[in-house]
């Protein structure tokens, strides 16, 4: 099984990890925007989540509709154990690759 993640996938999975059981389109978009300053569109979030779903890194369930959403249901996402492993591995890779880098990157 291929556990490698794209950058956007990584960001969105990190957002899921941080959001816990409150992860859905709006909150994920907001988390990424707040954390990185990248104002990605909702379409992008959906696209990425859909791809992660195909890879079995995330799973979803349907939450109750709220009035604020015009009575439409929410699709909530969470990381699967496989997804957690993939994210962990991806972050480890990143850490290894940045270790010992010269001063300019010391903060990593």
């Amino acid at each position: 099984m291929d556990l490698y993640l794209g950058e956007l996938e990584q960001l969105i999975m990190l957002a899921l990890a941080r959001l816990g059981d409150d992860a859905y389109g709006v909150s994920v978009r907001k988390m990424v925007a707040d954390g990185t300053g990248r104002d990605i569109t909702l379409g992008t979030v959906y696209k990425t989540l859909w791809r992660l779903e195909q890879k079995k890194f995330v799973s979803c369930w349907i939450a109750d509709p709220t009035a604020e959403r015009g009575g439409r249901a929410k699709k909530m996402y969470e990381l699967t154990p496989l997804g957690k492993r993939a994210l962990q591995q991806s972050l480890d890779n990143l850490r290894r690759m940045t270790q010992g880098l010269s001063k300019g990157f010391a903060r990593i």
Partner: protein, 876 residues
Amino acid sequence: MMPPRLARLLILLVVPASERDFFLGDLLEEFQQRVRSEGLRQANAWYWQQALRAPGWWRRTSPEFAPAGAELKRGEVMQGIVQDIRYALRSLRKNRSLVIFALGALALGIGANTAVYSVVRGILLKPLPYAEPERVLRLWDSIPPTTTVAVAPGNFAAWEKQNTVFAALGAYREDGFSLSSDAAPERVAGARITAGMLPVLGVAPVIGRWFTAEEDRAGAEPIVLLGNNLWKRRFGGDRNIIGKQVRVDGELRSVVGVMPPDFRFPIDGGELWIPYALDPANTDRSSHFLRVLARLKPGVPIETARGEMDGIAARLDQIDSSSMRKGWHVLVLPLRASITGDVGPTLWLLLGTVGLVLMIASANVANLLLARSVARRKEIALRFSLGASRSRLLRQGLIESLMLSIGGGFIGTGLATLGIDVLKNGAPGSIPRLADVSIDPSVLVYTVVVSIVNGLLFGILPAMRGSKLDLNESLKSASHGSTTGRHDHRIGRLLAASQIAIAMVVVISSGLMIRTLWKLNTIDPGFQTGGRLTFGINLNSPKYSHSPARAAFVSEVIDKLRTLPAVKGVGATHRLPMMGNSILGIDIEGQPVPPSGQRVSVVYRMITPDYFSVMGIPMVQGRTFDSRDPQLDAAVVVNQRMAARFWPGENPVGKRIRSGPQSPWLSVVGVAADTKDNRLDTDGPIAMYRPYSSDPFPSMTLVVHSTTEPTAVAGAIREEIRKLDPDLGITGMTPLSDVVAASIGERSFTAALLGVFAGMALLLATGGIYGVLAYAVNQRTREIGVRIALGANRTMVLKQIIADGMRLIVPGVLAGALGALAATRLLTALLFGVTKYDPATFATTTAFLIFVGLLACYVPARRAASVDPIVTLRDE
């Protein structure tokens, strides 16, 4: 708050059904948050951005979501579109009559829109042809709230010295000049302008130069600037004209510059300018005759300028105790607003009206396409079953309607070009900037956008119907067609009823305007217009610089013209009624002098003694001026309003008035009947008349009363005047009746245009009803045939079809009448003598539309009644 509907529709179209609900829910949630935190505008913009960027993602990521065919690469998609265009052409070619009708309707609708938009653009939207036109302002002397007059030279000089907000300030006075070089003398409109006008307007001559401040002084070398048109017309576009001498009002002037072709001096049609040579030491603050323009310094807001100018005016008021009136302000307006005036609402109204006409035209085409998509259901079902995707069929339908719309736009632009010429020729002179109206690139962009949006709007419904099908049912029943298509038929009927409703709004509006005109034409202006010819002469040249010379010349002209055959009388005034007013402040003997700033102003006209008899204005009391009267210069004739205002219940003859403490008293010798001095549709002001000889104005308007058609004596008049002074030009030779008509020109013009648009609306809506009913009859031919075969009465069939039509027409008419009640509010300012709810207009229009509707039903009904049962049944 709801997100933009169109954007939501777009999302519905592109996001696959399995994700749609969640996606829309998420978008709505964040949209609501954004409305609260950033406002509706920002939130809407965000929503649109999300919608517009959604499609690409789905297409590329999720093949299983995407509609069939969507996985095509870009090139293949293009190829598909070319294929669709070819297919649409082929299928349209098979429907010649549909194409002709649709193109005709759309060309009318889009053409009318293009023409009216080009007017809106030329007059309201196009920037003025000056450098940074938004910084150019017009300044008036004013005493709020009612008095706004031209600027006194003393004020202009003070503004020039004291202001800190303007980069430049210029003054001018419109004038007519007689230009005589090699060819015959010609009257040319133009202006005397100060040198400061160049930096104000910021337009350089194409050849030569502007004149300098030194040349703008009394005694300087006389020079002249030419307009481009005049240069081409009169001097054949001679590029070596600079330095050549031309004779202007009898004085030789050398040409220093030629202005560019699109240069418009703030009067339309001016084409000759000479330096004003205004005396900077002139402190006269009581004669108001200058028009003043100014250019704001960069970054200075207009409010700052207003504040500073009012400050200057207040200081002047304090210093200058001699001024008769106090409380002067300076009215500062953007030049554009001051030129455009109040034609804006009328133009937008007309644009709205043609928008309605286009809606009717488009509904027609939508109905045709809808009918066709039903007729083609078998073909569509076949294509479906052969694997065509719904989106592909949808796209094909839209391409078809787009092609019709763009084709209609193309023909419409041609129609609009013709229409604009007609419009320009027919428009009254009071409409500003008409010369700037043309089909320029931005008008074309408008036309293209209107065509495309329109094509999509009227195409979406038929395209959707043509791409959604129950396969089995269609293939089975397409040949029978008696039970299917109920739904389509309802949509068609709804469209036709809306057409009637919209047509009703347009026809009622034009009906109200026509009633207005009719009322206006029954108004008595207070003077006779039949057989009266008017024209202006300007005694500007040096030989008339002394007033006795002017007075002598005018009486000579009058005496000479009076001897012409067929001429019954000749009079003169310095200003014709409805051509503007001159105003003077007065005191009344024996009545308290009101506090400063509240002195009474009256309109006055300088006239020759015969003016009243020539104009057919009756004397109510006393007498007119008598040239043998030794007290002639102290005589004044007042109108009835003035008599009633100042001497109610008394005999005004013998009463005295004066224009200020230092002026001599004037005695009232007679009372003349009131006339409409401003416009036909407003009451005349308080007015008085003074003998021309007491203060001979340089520019006079003559009125010649003849027993023939007024224009028949025009040639003889010109000939006589040429004999008296070959250099003198004649301006604006017009029958008096035209002068009166011009005072309501804008209304007549609006009424005429609304009438044309109403005709178009009616024609298109009638076509719409006819189309729907004819189609329905066609669909039911078999049913009707069966009924007749079973013994149904033909009259019954006829009645039934007409009743069917009426069920569509009557609700349409009623809805239209309701809509008109709301819409005619916009017309209120243009109406005269009728209310916006005028029952006569509403009743007549209702009856008329129902009658026209009946006609449209009758033809298909006749056809239905004459159905031959044998033929229809054999067809089965």
